[in-house]
Amino acid sequence: MIYLQLENITKHFNSFIANDKINLTIESGKIHGILGENGAGKTTLMNILSGFYQPDSGNIYLEGKRVKINSPRAAIKLGIGMIYQHFMLVPQLTVTENIILGTESKWHLNLQKKQQEITNLSQLYQLEINPNAKVKDLPVGTQQRVEILKVLYRGAKLLILDEPTAVLAPQEVTSLITILRQLALRGNTIIFISHKLAEVINLCDTVTVLRHGQAVATINSKNTTTHELAELMVGRKLSLNLQKSPASLGKLVLSVENLQVTDDRGINAVHNISFQLREGEIFGIAGVDGNGQRELADAIAGLQPIKAGKIDCSSVGTKIGYIPEDRQKMGLVLQFNVGENLILRSFQKFPFCHQFLLQKQAIKNHAQVAMQAFDIRTNCADIQVSQLSGGNQQKVVLARELAGEPRLIIAMQPTRGLDVGATELVHQKLLAERGRGAAILYISTELEEVIAISDRIAVMYKGKFMDILDPEKTTVEEIGLLMGGGKKS
């Protein structure tokens, strides 16, 4: 039986067409995947279904009846439950308080009663949670379960999950998949939005691929491969293999011994890590976000004090390039233009500063050269960097950090949020640096990338290196296991 039907859904934002005549049907009790790159229109479609936007034209049918989803409240009333990538939970409140938020207007919240109701509900759906716990104390996987309970409590029959596995460890992913399959068996309909091909094929019954706002294909997942889906997503033939020459290692660049680093809250984030890095080598670090990667990177870059152990990069001098994981928050000053951002590390040095004044011409020239070399596309060099696309912004960061031929480069999630073209360029430039003899620390959650680009891979879990592997001899499954704290068999 068809549960949801979208007919010619179209949505414009000024002249930009976000959704272009999208047609979709999903049967009840099925899990339907929606695949697409950033900017393909997944988010807009999702926002239409959850009542945040209204489509410019087109119709939505739920169980055969035409409906208008005018607001988030209306969506909830229609039984549509949205589970966002960034959880919509208030960390300082308890599980119960989060679940009942906005459900009624009462002068007396009977919290005891509500807690009981929620415990019953969680047992019914086999989603174990403690109703009294404060959300901020819960691990990520459990928080997601609270999110799911939240929509079930409101009577959702259609669940939409947006990139739900982005922050989960591999076992938590398995857990989630089990829960979703169960929900489907109970008659709930599920939409699973993702860009992770293997997961989608594994979990979903059917898949729709979005590209540039259009639904380019709807396929039964049993009849396709990850490669075919990837090509549909991108629209052209992909070469998933990077042109990588064999490593030619040079002198020792970085030596880390028994390193211990605490994070901002004083908790040990890095426990006893030791490794060495040589010229011409890319050392990949795989791991789920939040296992100490940032503290490790910051410590090596000299931005975080060390609690114990030694970091020796004295042969490097001060030539370290650092590509931070959040270019907008950490890597750029959005109100500055390209030139001003490029001198962020060197604004006090010649030729940008001479006789106590900034040299405008030198800064401008430098910007022009960099924009050429890194293919930074903009209409005018004077505009604020906030106006540039994510890819161009990242290129500015690269241009700045790779200038001056650093001997050690630390790259944290360098391709996050970038489209295929920009990702290719980042990898190209890093490989070029490797060829030049730089040592590169490549920290990322994207396993395929890490395997493709690294010469050696360390897997980081709870501040320790679980193992250091040879990318040519290992598999995604093995790394995934280690990422979740499992031991190599």
Binding site: H86, M88, Q92, E97
Partner: protein
């Protein structure tokens, strides 16, 4: 016996001086719990003081003065809400602007209306509860006060209950800590914030009305003298909890009361140092609490629906 009376007088004075602070702090509480920084408490206090004085001056009815003060305060709150929630002006700037405007306009209009007259306004007398008010110390403190004090005590208890045991309180906390959660749960973040900020205006205004109708009995330009800012310090010191903040106000009131009693205690401290004391204590309180008193997470941050993604 003398010391006993002295101490009792001191407590009563402390209580009285803390009332305007407490009303303002309670107002600030609602606003800031919803995530809207409210520096305009000073201006709201002043507005309440001025409005109640003016209306009472013209009508000789202090109760009308109180009502007028609440309405005027609500309007100022509405302005702050409009500026910071709808227009998305920086909340600090909005608060500062309101303080400047309130100070300027009340000074100007006061000259026109009162014209230097120091005629005392009809005020609000204390309500004496028979029997209980005879108990030493506590009797005077709790059972011989005017309506403002009783109202304040009720409001504090009511607010604590509202915050933790009602839907509105839950919504308020959610909006102040993580607005996207409230938004996607179908609640209107702007409506909650408007409501909270208007309430803060009404409450702070009541504090001002207390100043003119009970304590000083006429309006003086700039009579709020930074009490609105001390109220904010009290809010931080009280960790944004209604009872904690009220106690902090009591502390600051006690400090201010020292100045009045110091001659009676026989010490020879210049009055200026005693005048400084509440402000110094407020700063020390803030420093001591730094890092340990955590504001509502969304405090001071503009929010619009697009911010979810």
């Amino acid at each position: 016996m003398n010391n006993f009376n002295l101490f009792s007088d001191y407590l009563v004075a402390s209580l009285h001086l803390s009332i305007p602070l407490a009303f303002a702090a309670l107002g600030g509480f609602y606003s800031e719990r919803s995530g809207v920084l409210n520096i305009a408490l000073e201006g709201m206090l002043l507005t309440g003081a001025f409005t109640s004085a003016t209306i009472t001056f013209y009508t000789s009815n202090p109760w009308l003065g109180i009502v007028a003060a609440v309405i005027a305060g609500g309007l100022v709150g509405l302005l702050h809400a409009f500026l910071s929630v709808t227009l998305r002006v920086d909340q600090l700037v909005s608060g500062l602007a309101i303080n400047l405007v309130a100070s300027g306009i009340t000074s100007f209009l006061a000259r026109l209306i009162f014209n230097g007259s120091t005629q005392r306004l009809p005020g609000i007398e204390a309500i004496i509860i028979p029997g209980l008010s005879q108990i030493p110390i506590i009797g005077i403190l709790l059972f011989q006060q005017d309506i403002f004090v009783y109202l304040l005590l009720m409001l504090i208890m009511l607010t604590t209950y509202i915050l933790f045991y009602t839907s509105f309180g839950l919504t308020l906390r959610a909006v102040g800590e993580y607005p996207p959660a409230a938004d996607t749960a179908g609640l209107s973040v702007p409506s909650v914030r408007y409501c909270a900020v208007i309430m803060s205006g009404c409450l702070a205004s009541l504090g001002g009305a207390y100043l003119t109708l009970v304590q000083i009995r006429f309006f003086v330009e700039g009579m709020s003298a930074g009490k609105g800012f001390i109220a904010i310090a009290a809010l931080i010191f009280g960790k944004w909890h209604p009872v904690g903040s009220a106690l902090a106000c009591l502390l600051f009131g006690a400090t201010e009361a020292l100045q009045l009693q110091i001659q009676a205690f026989g010490a020879n401290i210049p009055y200026q140092f005693l005048l400084m004391l509440p402000y110094i204590i407020a700063i020390l309180a803030l420093v001591g609490l730094a890092g340990k008193s955590i504001p509502p997470k969304a405090l001071g941050i503009r929010y619009s629906q697009g911010d979810r993604h």
